[in-house]
Amino acid sequence: MRPEIWQPLLLSLKVALWATGINLVLGVAVAYGLSRWRSRFNATVDALLTLPLVLPPTVLGYYLLVLLGRRGVIGGWLDDLGLNPVFTWQGAVIAATLAAFPLVHKAARAAFEGVDAQLEDAARVLGLKPLAVFVRVSLPLAARGIVAGALLAFARALGEFGATLMIAGNLPGRTQTLSVAIYSAIEAGDDAGANVLVLVASATCVVALLVASRLTRERTPRRAA
């Protein structure tokens, strides 16, 4: 395979894996917290966290530039530490993480809300601390839904284009992901290259979706009735 194909593919896989991993920790933690948080602001926070799903990716990218650019609120501070994420693959990870976050968060939230609260009560009465209740009861019972959400997030992160282009740019071999490479190939009139890239991207996403739908469909309510 030519480096024009395997380089963007490997970079996209790396970015998508990082974004999925970060979202698994972040999305699950936020979802669990919100599913147990009784407050009238709950719905508002939930809507804000879903925003990346509906906002145009270029708008997301613009927000990221404003925040993380050299003169941005966080960017200026990061720049002093020599850690500016603009035009780096880490920048692409940030864009993909943000874009895919709602998918993990929504799935995890629904999964945690489906866990019978009485099972958590039973675990508390049996002597478990809150973290143990989470690890031994809530998380395993919500795992299937969380994994399904993570697979969707992986597919979304793999396909991220708009926000990635704005924050990470289009540097072949450094920040050029699969979606960006497809755009570049077509722009350059390299139809053969574009075809291969498109097929690789499609196949990866179809597999992720099939596995995700299989996991959600087989989810049988195994409650102690």
């Binding site: 019978d116 009485q118 099972l119 009560d121 039973a122 675990a123 508390r124 009465v125 049996l126 002597g127 478990l128 601390k129 973290l131 143990a132 690890v135 031994r136 009861v137 395993p140 019972l141 195994r222 409650r223 102690a224 009735a225």
Partner: protein, 226 residues
């Protein structure tokens, strides 16, 4: 006095505001709290177990104060050493029978192993004759088997008090009377104090050494059954 309870708790649910105000003492082995659904029986049980925080009052079990708003005592549920058998048993669906029974014997971050079981779990599975169901999951059990698993799980950590929420409601009638007798036998053998809540007069008849009637969040009389 083995059990000394006074609980006040106001629930401001806009559709159904409810005030729980119960106080009782008991020295008997089998105390029954009897009343219709919605009377506050489950709330009382939850408050004793530490799953619901009373606004005012105290909870004392065998001389140990578990809650006292005046003295600022509120022992967390996990440290109360109170056994709880939930109405639909609340068995962990992702764990086997053996893991369910051993659950409270391991309070760390890992669930008990499927194979290497603590001796206490083995003992309680033998007591309740569920040792040959060890590898099954709760969804594969009958109602009566589930109840035995729930009892074994609650008793394995050796609680000071056993709370039972409508323990026979999920079972068919034929099974109920047999299991009532075996519950009485078990309580007498262990000498453990039990608090049973029920809306079924037959439970009162079979189990109650002391019977308290609860209606609209208050205790109405201390009726002793024959």
């Amino acid at each position: 006095m083995r059990l000394d309870i006074a609980i006040q708790r106001h629930l401001d649910d806009p559709q159904r505001p409810f005030a729980l105000d119960v106080a009782f003492r008991s020295n008997v082995g089998r105390l029954v709290l009897f009343g219709p659904s919605g009377a506050g029986k489950s709330l009382t049980l939850r408050a004793i177990a530490g799953l619901l925080r009373p606004d005012r009052g105290h909870v004392t079990v065998s001389g140990r104060t578990l809650f006292d708003d005046f003295r600022g005592v509120d022992v967390p549920a996990r440290e109360r050493h109170v056994g709880y058998v939930f109405q639909d048993y609340a068995l962990f669906p992702h764990l086997t029978v053996a893991q369910n029974v051993a659950f409270g014997l391991r309070t760390g971050l890992c669930n008990p192993s499927r194979r290497r079981l603590p001796d206490a779990a083995r003992h309680w599975m033998e007591v309740f004759e569920i040792d040959d169901l060890a590898g099954r999951h709760p969804s594969q059990l009958s109602g009566g088997q589930r109840q035995r698993v729930a009892l074994a799980r609650a008793l394995a950590p050796e609680p000071q008090l056993l709370l039972l929420d409508e323990p026979f409601a999920a079972l068919d009638t034929a099974l109920r009377s047999r299991l009532r007798d075996s519950l009485v036998a078990l309580q007498e053998r262990l000498g453990l104090q039990m608090l049973v809540i029920t809306h079924d007069p037959a439970d009162v008849e079979a189990l109650g050494q002391q019977v308290l009637e609860i209606r609209d969040g208050r205790i109405h009389g201390d009726a002793r059954s024959g």
